[in-house]
Symmetry: C2
Subunit: 250 residues, 2 copies
């Protein structure tokens, strides 16, 4: 199963979700791969071991799919591997458009090389550029983190419009299943509760699990540890465990 | 004076700074223009009046600089005008590369049409794509918001490398002045204090003013009001007023 973690809006918890959901799935026994598609390479920095960084990264694997396995390394989270990104990936969109007849399928083709994983999580950059479109096409399920601020919700409409364009253009046969994940939720803040209620009324497909605001999650990010290594009994750890269990039932 | 508000990292407070610093500068009597360069068009949504949205947006003005003034509208914040963005701006990078001999100067040329403003603030999308490069080239000063999480700091190094490449390539004659702005600061969190102290030790150029975490800023964003309209005595309002005063002294 391939999950794209995507929202145009920046800073809504895409990388935090990719890393901690990945770690939670591995804890439940699923062999998990996280693919970093962001030129910021936050997931790569977060999960890299002391070992030397691979010379080959996702930038190379997208241009030549035979290189996908060389971009993969073990990570600091048990049972989780990471496909490394680098700043170079920012230039891949132009290279693909110039050199490939089907630039939108580069990731789907590269991922065929990554066998043996039960779960693959794609950490997308903010925005809806070619790399994010590649992720929309490669994925079985789209997870859209939204913090309770309304602007993150505006990103959802743009994703849905983009998916419709891909289906109309026959680039994908049908829309992948899109599920919203409320992150940085604080039940004391009225806007947070209003956005969550609004999602239910509008009939958006949402995970039942909600990720509450928890500074332990930000601290774990800063210390480059999964929430399970840093603070296994925190609300952050409980919330991502619950999310992993809900995901496996679907 | 033209200020680019820029950081690859998403969700660090770029739009919140563009809107509230713009409103604070206008309160001090400076005629201010905010230029929205983000396909999410958050600043546009935040500041639009009931009036009909312009048919011409920044996407058109970048492709034909004579259209710049038609993209500008009054905003809901007194003394602040807004140059509207739209989703279409996501496609402008490809169009410029295909049609213009100097795609990196499109914004600098368009802004020549926007006369009569003492302060122009450029709200950039996350990432370092062509639109952000255009902003780096057009600006006199770069304001880099960083939340206290370490990853936002990694974005700074990539901006500095990009500026060096622009100077080496003789695209700009000298580096614009880059100043860091600490946002979402919470003096109770040790990581926040550590990052602020680290910036001082490393000799980064930082504003003395710090923007503290303040839910009123997020609520004002959700209600599409400047912090001065929503909660004029909040720490958010005080912090952006102090920043505006510090900026005018430089
Ligand atoms: N539930 C949470 N509680 C508290 N802080 C959180 C939570 N989730 C994420 N954060 C913090 O919010 C910030 C943004 O998170 P993150 O970087 O994962 O978002 P992103 O969507 O991947 O950002 P980008 O758009 O730059 O890729 C980080 O500093 C992170 O530590
Ligand atoms: N000082 C602050 N205190 C509390 N919340 C804040 C503060 N500054 C920004 N926010 C909130 O953090 C979120 C991110 O802010 P904002 O959208 O301005 O960042 P951005 O860098 O423009 O994001 P993007 O990368 O998507 O353009 C918003 O929900 C905003 O309301
Ligand atoms: Mg991220
Ligand atoms: Mg923004």
């Amino acid at each position: 199963m391939i999950y794209a973690i995507l929202n145009m809006k920046g800073g809504v918890g895409k990388t935090t979700t990719a890393v901690n959901l990945g770690a939670a799935l591995a804890k439940l026994g699923d062999k998990t791969l996280i693919v970093d598609l962001d030129p910021q390479a936050n997931a790569t920095a977060w999960l890299s071991t002391e070992e030397e960084a691979p010379a080959i990264t996702m930038a190379d694997a997208l241009l030549d799919r035979k290189k996908m396995t060389s971009a993969i390394r073990k990570s600091t989270a048990k049972g989780v591997d990471i496909a490394h990104s680098s700043r170079k990936i920012a230039g891949v969109a132009d290279d693909l458009r110039a050199s490939s007849p089907t630039p939108a399928y580069a990731l789907r083709n590269a991922l065929k090389q990554a066998s043996g994983y039960e779960r693959i999580l794609l950490d997308c950059p903010p925005g809806l550029g070619l790399l994010s479109i590649n992720a929309l096409i490669a994925a079985d399920v789209i997870i859209v983190p939204i913090d309770s601020q309304t602007m993150a919700l505006a990103g959802v409409a743009q994703i849905q419009e983009t998916i419709e364009e891909l289906v109309d253009g026959e680039i994908i046969s049908g829309p992948p299943k899109t599920t919203l994940l409320v992150t940085m939720f604080d039940s004391r803040i009225s806007l947070d509760r209003a956005v969550r209620d609004h999602l239910k009324e509008e009939g958006f497909n949402c995970f039942k699990s909600v990720i509450r605001t928890n500074t332990k999650l930000a601290e774990a990010f800063g210390l480059r540890q999964s929430i399970f290594q840093y603070s296994p009994t925190s609300t952050g750890a409980n919330d991502y465990s619950a999310l992993a269990k809900e995901l496996r039932k679907k």
